[in-house]
Amino acid sequence: MSQAEQKKLDLLITGVGGQGAILASDIIGKAAVTAGMPIRAAETHGMAQRGGSVVNHIRVGNDYGSMIPKKGADLLLALEPMEAVRYLDFLKDGGIIIMNTQPIVPVTVTSGLTKYPEVSDILDFLSEKYIVKAFNADDLAYEAGNRLAMNVVMVGAVSGYLPIPKETLLDSVKALVPQKTIEVNLRAFEAGRQKVEES
């Protein structure tokens, strides 16, 4: 594998509108530029996506389009369990899934139209074909000081797999989160990183 090949990574971030998927993707994107790597990303926009299913494509070391081909993603970062399953077609066979186990129940479920699958069933299903690292990132964020830092916990969790130095990612976190939440977010990042390193 050439140097350039090693630095290529296709990552999919899935979640629910309002969870901070775009900020998570921005942290990685900005860090990639600082590290001098080409980067492409595609994201779901619009107020109407609040509460809706969202997906971000991130392609580190890529010069072409921003959309990851089917079965092209090396990694799937799921901010929500059900959303881990929804976009599986994009993940390579044997790819890595890093998943937040905290469900967000859609209105279609609260209003009694459908059921939310058991998180344990989701985990069993995903583990059949993929490498799964799952934990409750909402709790880790809460321990770090703010539940809203869940997205940064997840960036920390994926950070070990990215071809970008940790320090560069941390600088990017500092630059992009609100000034007064920097400390909380740095703790959140470390908590996520540690969780995956331990597993």
Binding site: G29, A32, A41, K70, E83, P106, T108, S111
Partner: protein, 600 residues
């Protein structure tokens, strides 16, 4: 030293406009185009005029006025916006410009946030103007200064057509210089150019046709088209716009030795196409939406008498609708070479609950729709419009959505057709200013008997909270006149105008009852700021909780559909989550007085 920054495509487009020396920017918000003006309006060191106009036609005309003084101007919108602005645009092509004029019209293949998938390149063909079709956000930025120069050279407006994946794609972008010197405006009184009466329009049409070939020749030499001929290749690929990036990625990945033509600007480069066609037996055309390049390639082949198979959308090799990607290109290649295609399955037995986008917790539109349904009932007809409130389809109060501003006119049409059922239509504040005003005026003058609900959340929420004439400030945050919806409606002749707070269920339901009884056009203005912009502006309300002792588990509050209300199946009791914004509507719905404000 070169500067690289990580940017959203629309931010890169805004940067490209600055690098091109833009002086006047006007537009109407519409996903995926909105962030271009948001970005430029937020800059501190502005030496340009920028505005959110009330609709795309008006925005186009503002840009035209500016360009006729010799300065560079731009108008932004989404694809369907050009339908609104088509009237000035088609004639502008005849009159032409002095300063460069770019109409940025963002297309949305796959309808990520749109009511249709129309292809703006057809408008470019229709109007006989050049169209720039970037394949990456970097190219989008780089094309804009070129497009301004091109527009000035030929004194013709140009279209710039990003697609969703350009506008909302992100990428590392290499920045260029922003010019400091800009020309002073100087309106030249060229009556034969600026007054399109028939005597002047006829020769301008002739002129426009006469510059088509020079335009095509100039563009063929531009860096946006490129041809890579492989000496022995008998198969060629033509990729256009963003689809060219998908095709290129797949070809490089597969290591295929085929000739490749990338097209980034129209009219298509006849010369390059001929060069390609003369060397191959078959060519696959890969482009999003309409088969525009494909049709041109067929025409060129036929005119030149070249025997070549042109594969693409018309013969089913590439899908005609929706968004393309690398996988779609691989599929097309497999069909071309008659290879087996493997069935795509993720093989899940898990039933995933659908997660449609929903109105926010505490959104006042939900309360308005709830009351509307209560008063007008199941039997009534509910025409609606385009905005966040279209999500009211989940409340059963959105039964038509055609285009911006159409809800009131569709309601009128239903009534005049003889519908006897009550008709209650809904439209947002921004949409009302956009083109709903004309429809209301028409409904009143022509004596429709309908209820018009203006969902006034004091902002253009869906596209990212842009100001409209009702909010009292401009795109740059400067204070301005705050237009009164109620006075406006009265001035148009509305005899029933009621302004209500949708969070007060009794109040709004009384208004709806009176409106239903009213003979003629009744206007109910349901006013409550958008929960998101309200929160940002410092509105803090006390959240609510369910008292499990009092909750009977009737699920009335759950059925209301607020994302902050869940049902605890184990304890048969409703639960209000941290999402609660404190609107208090559920407390009014609860018959058992089980929902109370959190005690401090």
């Amino acid at each position: 030293m070169t500067m690289r920054e990580y940017m959203l495509g629309n931010v890169a487009i805004a940067r490209g406009l600055l690098e091109g020396g833009v002086q006047v920017i006007a537009g109407y918000p519409g996903t995926p185009s909105s962030e271009i003006i948001d970005t430029l309006a937020a800059r501190k060191d502005r030496d340009y005029h920028i505005e959110w106009s009330v609709n795309e036609k008006v925005a186009m005309e503002v840009a035209v006025g500016a360009a006729w003084t010799g300065v560079r101007s731009v108008v932004t919108m989404k694809h369907v916006g050009l339908n609104v602005a088509a009237d000035p645009f088609m004639t502008l092509a005849y009159a032409g410009t002095k300063g460069g004029l770019i109409a940025i019209v963002a297309d949305d293949p796959s309808c990520h946030s749109s009511q249709n998938e129309q292809d703006t390149r057809r408008y470019a063909q229709f109007a006989l103007v050049p169209c720039f079709d970037p394949s990456t956000p970097q190219e989008a930025k780089d094309m804009l200064p070129y497009a301004f120069e091109f527009s000035e050279k030929f004194e013709v407006p140009v279209i710039f057509r990003p697609t969703t994946r350009i506008s909302h794609g992100k990428s590392d972008i290499e920045l260029g210089e922003i010019p400091v010197e800009k020309p002073a405006p100087n309106f030249e009184k060229l009556l034969d150019r600026w007054v399109m009466l028939p005597k002047n329009a006829r020769p301008r049409h002739t002129h426009l046709l006469s510059i088509q070939q020079p335009i095509e020749d100039a563009l063929a030499e531009s860096p946006w088209n490129s041809l890579e001929l492989k000496p022995d290749a008998k198969f060629g690929v033509i990729g256009a716009g963003i689809a060219s990036a998908y095709a290129k990625e797949a070809l490089v990945e597969l290591g295929l030795d085929v000739s490749y033509l990338k097209i980034g600007v129209y009219p298509v480069p006849r010369k390059l196409i001929l060069e390609l066609l003369e060397t191959v037996d078959a060519v696959l055309v890969f482009e999003e939406l309409e088969p525009i390049v494909e049709e041109q390639v067929k025409m060129i082949a036929q005119e030149a008498g070249i025997e070549v198979s042109v594969l693409g959308k018309n013969n089913g090799f590439v899908p005609r609708e929706g968004e393309l990607d690398v996988s779609a290109f691989l599929e097309a290649l497999k069909k071309t070479f008659d290879l087996e295609t493997e069935a795509e399955t993720s093989g899940t037995s898990l039933e995933l609950a659908p997660r449609p986008p929903a109105l926010c917790a505490g959104c006042s539109h939900r309360a308005t729709f709830y009351s509307m349904k209560k008063v007008f009932g199941k039997d009534a007809i509910y025409p609606s419009d385009i905005g966040c409130y279209t999500l009211g389809i989940q409340s059963g109060t959105v039964e038509t959505t055609l285009c911006m501003g159409s809800s009131i006119s569709v309601a009128s049409g239903l009534y005049h057709a003889g519908e006897k059922r009550p008709i209650c239509c809904s439209i947002g504040d921004s949409t009302f200013f956009h083109s709903g005003m004309n429809s209301l005026l028409n409904a009143i003058v022509n004596k429709a008997n309908i209820t018009v609900t203006i969902l006034d959340n004091r902002i253009t929420a869906m596209t990212g909270h842009q100001p409209n004439p009702g909010v009292g400030y401009t795109a740059t945050g400067e204070q301005t006149v705050q237009v009164s919806l109620e006075e406006l409606c009265k001035a148009m002749g509305a005899e029933f105008v009621s302004v209500v707070d949708p969070y007060k269920l009794e109040e709004i339901q009384e208004a709806f009852k009176a409106a239903k009884e009213f003979e003629g056009v009744a206007v109910v203005i349901a006013r409550q700021p958008c929960v998101i912009s309200g929160k940002r502006a410092g509105i803090r309300r006390t959240p609510y909780v369910v008292d499990p002792e009092k909750c009977e588990g009737c699920k009335q509050c759950v059925k209301f559909g607020c994302p902050a209300i869940e049902f605890d199946e184990q304890n048969k009791c409703a639960v209000i989550t941290a999402l609660c914004s404190g609107c208090g509507v559920c407390a009014q719905i609860c018959k058992f007085d089980a929902i109370q404000e959190v005690k401090r």
